[in-house]
Amino acid sequence: MSTRSGHAWRIVLRPHAGRFALAFVLGALTVLASLGLLALSGWFITAAAVAGAGAAAAAAFDIFRPGAVIRLCAIVRTAGRYGERLLSHDAVLGLLADLRLVCYRALARLAPEPLARWSEGELLQRAIADVEALDEAPLRAWLPLGWMLLVLAVVLALIGHVAPPLALAAAPWLAAAAIAVPLASSLLAGRAMRDLAVRAGRRREALIDLLRGLTTLSLYGAFEARRDDWRRLDQDLIDRRLRHRVLESCAQAVVVLLVGLGGWQLLRSGDRLVTDGAVAAPSLVMAVLASLATLEAFAPVAGALLAHARSRAAQRRLSDLLHAQPALPFGGTVATPAQTGALHLRGVARRHPGRADGIAPFDLDLPAGARLLVEGRSGAGKSTLLKLLARVVDPDGGCIVLDGTALTDYREDALRASIALLPQRPHLFAMSLAENLGLGDPRIGRSRMRAALEAVALGDWLARLPQGLDTRLGEYGTGLSGGEARRVALASVLLRGTPLVLLDEPFEGLDAQTEAAVVAGVHRWVGAGTLIVVSHRSVHFGVPAWRLRIEAGRVSLPRRDRD
């Protein structure tokens, strides 16, 4: 699992590696300049004090070179930090963009039906929060870890250069601060963190359950008990989080302590060397200050592995999404779309285990160009029938044949070019009217869009829009009435020009006059294609239509109008 998730992650990361590398270099310059600023200043002051003791030495002391380097360090530190922040944010934003796309494509593969597996909140959580947790890894874990290792190496080399035994004295303390503490804290907290994420999810679900039934629970006297249950869950999570926090800040405090003790150890060991005359005091002060200055690079590392763990958890969830199997595999090979809408169904059934709505086995034969009206009560299974015909779901048994080819034998693009479905609750995008109608299909011209709007009796409405087809629709089609929104979606379905058109309650919310106009328009547009309409109203196309009733999942034999 982890290699699988790691693989997907590496592919997404690769295009941004260059920018991250550059950010690393700039960041490294910054931390080294920071270190140099303090260490060199310490050396400079001590050397100046030594020289100041003798008047001749004081006069000969060169203050310009060290002064220039100190100022350079100050400027490099500032500029490096600015560049590093900008670059790493650019890289992270680029990564974010790519991750969104990967996530979208993964969801697209699962669409349409399995999206129902996740609630909308969970989808948003996965798609947005997880993507953000993912980019924590480079920014908060990898870069700081890299800088830490670099600083550790540079400082130990510097101290070793001053006096090798001093490097040995400081190394255990600094290594413990840089490596042992983060490792230990991530070992201690890693498991707890996964647990925390699970518990947080559970608390959220419990809260939504509580809110969903709030009126009923309070009216029927069950709210307080449920609320206490939830509070216990909440309190438990709060306690665990506090423990986790304490662990994090203790790790941080221990790093601070160890770096300080490293400096102290250098003082102690150096004291002997200096009195022996083995080391010059300015160099020793430089070593001590350098070891103390490592804190700036070490402090963020205490939390780095935790950030890494968070990112790993998000990676795993994203990987689940990427590797989820679509409920409907498309293994068909027929690449030619259907030419006619002739339908033959044999023994088609769809059951929902443990649930009341479903469709019992039935047969249906419909010639090309037919008009079929599906009637029945709400919940009888009408929408399920349309979903079967559009291959949103597959039947549990039986076979659906469109224009001589079983639905399962079509390649996906051929199937989509053969069937169009208007669902009961169509979705309109917060984009322009033209984009909603054509869904970006370059083959659908603007004049055709206008014609389709005419067909659904929106011609006058379009003429009144100042920006015409470029009018932007709000979220969920706000700005449109319910009936207008449905008809825009209907026009979009018609524009697909498929030989089989499936409409779920297309005329809901229309007055009688408009309905007649829309029925006539749709009938004309579909022409020789097959049109299947689910409606609880009686619809007249002006030609004999087939009628079919569904009662509690049982499909009646279709009969034909005689007029």
Binding site: A74, A200, T215, T216, G260, A281, V285, L292, S378, D441
Partner: protein
């Protein structure tokens, strides 16, 4: 638009400050611990400087190396402990605050009952309770203590440096008046960046969610790749615009960084010159000594650390403000608390309710007579929902409330259920003022049926028997039979144990309304409040349910709200009240035996 956005945020600011003050003890402790850590570091720096001074044989350096080396680890431990204490106290403050705010929000929602829908979907409300409340964390745990430290720490350091060298103290202190300026600079930059980021991210998130929601449509149209292109384009646009803002925002913190770096460099150069004796001014008396110089050098970076941290943490404040806006908005919607519920004893003092079935017994106390006496309801935004309406409903009478949406019929039901309190007039139940009736005593007498009843992901039986743990199964079947659902449930493979989803999935719309009816019947409530129970059903199913309602509700006081457009009142209704714009425009009994004419 930004002006309108800022108005609620401005209102949230005092709320946030007041709330943060309730945990002042903990945040104060956090700040004190932070100052203690600085004091420990000052001590350590002094010891270190004295040891180094003795290396070069500086005369009169104190204390001795041995004692300095012995005390130093203690100061380091004290510093680390203080830092840990600072974080712990901050976390305590934050967790405590979040706990109380969450509790308060849940209280408000419970009091709002079905009216909470006006504040958002349950998913969105859960987001306020969980994520938005959690967004207060950084502000309370880190930003508030950091504000104290950003002033206190530089002050401590200037005080420590002053006796060594007035010029060094001046070099650092000269930046002190700049500190508010820095904070403003950093703050504004960060705030602008944050606001932009939040807006852009919301747009991007909105676009992404829009495309994901529409994915079924795109996939069925064979156009999902077009959606992918839109996702990509949106994210790239966000990246470009973000970088434009970040370039400026980072600049402000860079200015601070530059000042810090240059100040350290200048202090170092000055100290070097002073030690060489080439810079006679700036310190006291004799020549500058190494211990003083090193001490000053070690403290110089610490002077700027808390300020830089504050710049980094500034976004926490913006985050908390945005969250506080959402939270305060929800809290504002709370109806005024019911006096009798808040003050238990006052309910005891008022005379017992003169109900015939005995007011004290909670469940099944029979139908009640209801009287609205000049009742007005004004919403928080000033809209008048009900304008001095008066009517009486006799015990056992069944009344249809008719009116267009927004006419006030739902408000009548919400008032009666106690989810709202009248802003004028009085509602009496069996002659007793409803406001004096504690909700826990009133609610068991009610049955509530909505357009979309609430369901739990549980069995059919559990969904009916909410709050009636250990009820007799016979009672449940009795209720299901009366609701006309017994045969349907028996036909299910798992019968009464069949599970339904939280959105009622597994049963049809008509079956669900019957299940809600069974819920009302099983607790034998005497007063039924029905808010458009038929609106979501097709005409045949609705007619069936009407017939069931007619028999099941016999002998109960019933108020049913119904949209103007639904069919004429059935003969089982005793009376029709028509509402328009918050007033009763018609109050007419239905003549039994003949169809009602309009």
């Amino acid at each position: 638009m930004t002006e309108a956005d800022r108005a609620p945020e401005a209102a949230a600011k005092p709320w946030l400050r007041t709330r943060a003050r309730t945990v002042r003890g903990w945040t104060g402790l956090a700040a004190a611990a932070g100052l203690a850590a600085t004091l420990a570091w000052i001590g350590f720096a002094a010891l270190l400087a004295s040891v180094a001074a003795q290396w070069i044989g500086q005369p009169g350096a104190r204390p001795s190396t041995a004692s300095a080396l012995a005390v130093a680890p203690l100061l380091l431990v004290a510093r680390s402990l203080s830092l840990a204490l600072r974080d712990w106290a901050g976390s305590r403050a934050s967790l405590r605050l979040r706990g109380t705010v969450r509790d308060e929000l849940l209280d408000v929602l419970a009091r709002l009952g079905p009216l909470r829908a006006a504040a958002g979907s349950d998913g969105a409300l859960a987001t306020v309770l969980v994520e938005q409340v959690d967004a207060l964390d950084g502000y309370v745990a880190r930003y508030r203590p950091q504000c104290v430290l950003a002033i206190g720490v530089p002050l401590l350091i200037v005080i420590a440096v002053l006796p060594q060298s007035w010029l060094a103290a001046l070099l650092l202190g000269a930046t002190a008046p700049l500190i508010p300026l820095f904070m403003l600079l950093v703050g504004q930059g960060a705030a602008a960046a944050n606001r932009h980021q939040a807006e852009a991210l919301a747009t991007l998130g909105g676009r992404f969610l829009d495309l994901v929601r529409g994915l079924p449509a795109l996939r069925l149209a064979g156009r999902s790749e077009w959606g992918a292109a839109a996702v990509h384009e949106g994210a790239q646009g966000y990246r470009r615009s973000s970088l434009r803002v970040l370039r400026l925002a980072f600049l402000s913190s860079t200015v601070l960084e530059l000042f810090a770096s240059l100040a350290i460099a200048m202090v170092a150069l000055y100290l070097g010159l002073a030690l060489l004796g080439r810079f006679p001014a700036g310190h006291y008396g004799g020549p500058m000594q190494l211990d003083a110089a090193l001490f000053v050098l070690l403290l110089a970076p610490e002077f700027f650390t808390p300020l830089r941290q504050l710049g980094t943490d500034y976004h926490l404040r913006a985050q908390a403000l945005a969250a506080a806006t959402a939270i305060a908005d929800l809290l504002r919607r709370a109806p005024p608390p019911q006096p009798s519920v808040v003050q238990g004893p006052s309910a005891d003092r008022s005379e017992p309710a003169p109900t015939k079935a005995g007011g004290s017994s909670a469940i099944g106390s029979g139908p009640a007579a209801i009287e609205f006496d000049q009742v007005s309801l004004r919403h928080g935004d000033g809209r008048l929902a009900l304008d001095r309406i008066s009517f009486r409903v006799a015990a056992g009478e069944r009344v249809l409330l008719r009116g267009a949406s927004g006419s006030g019929k739902s408000s009548v039901l919400a008032l009666l259920a106690g989810f709202l309190a009248p802003t004028g007039g009085c509602i009496r139940v069996d002659g007793r003022d409803l406001a004096t009736l504690p909700r826990p005593a009133w609610w068991p007498r009610l049955a509530w049926l909505e357009q979309r009843p609430e369901w739990f992901a549980a069995s059919i039986g559990d969904n009916v028997l909410i709050g009636l743990d250990g009820a007799d199964p016979a009672r449940l079947w009795h209720a299901l039979t009366d609701a006309g659902l017994a045969a349907d449930v028996e036909a299910l493979p798992d019968g009464i144990d069949t599970r339904i989803d939280a959105d009622g999935g597994g049963l049809s719309g008509g079956q669900l309304q019957r299940l809600a009816l069974a819920r009302a019947l099983v607790r034998d409530a005497g007063i039924w409040l029905l808010d458009e129970p038929l609106a979501q059903l097709d005409p045949d199913t609705a007619a069936d349910l009407q017939r069931t309602l007619a028999t099941a509700s016999r002998g109960r006081t019933l108020l049913m709200a119904s949209h103007e457009r639904t069919q004429a009142a059935d003969p089982w209704i005793d009376r029709v009240l028509t509402l328009a714009a918050g007033r009763i425009v018609e109050d007419r009994p239905v003549l039994h035996g003949g169809p009602e004419r309009r």
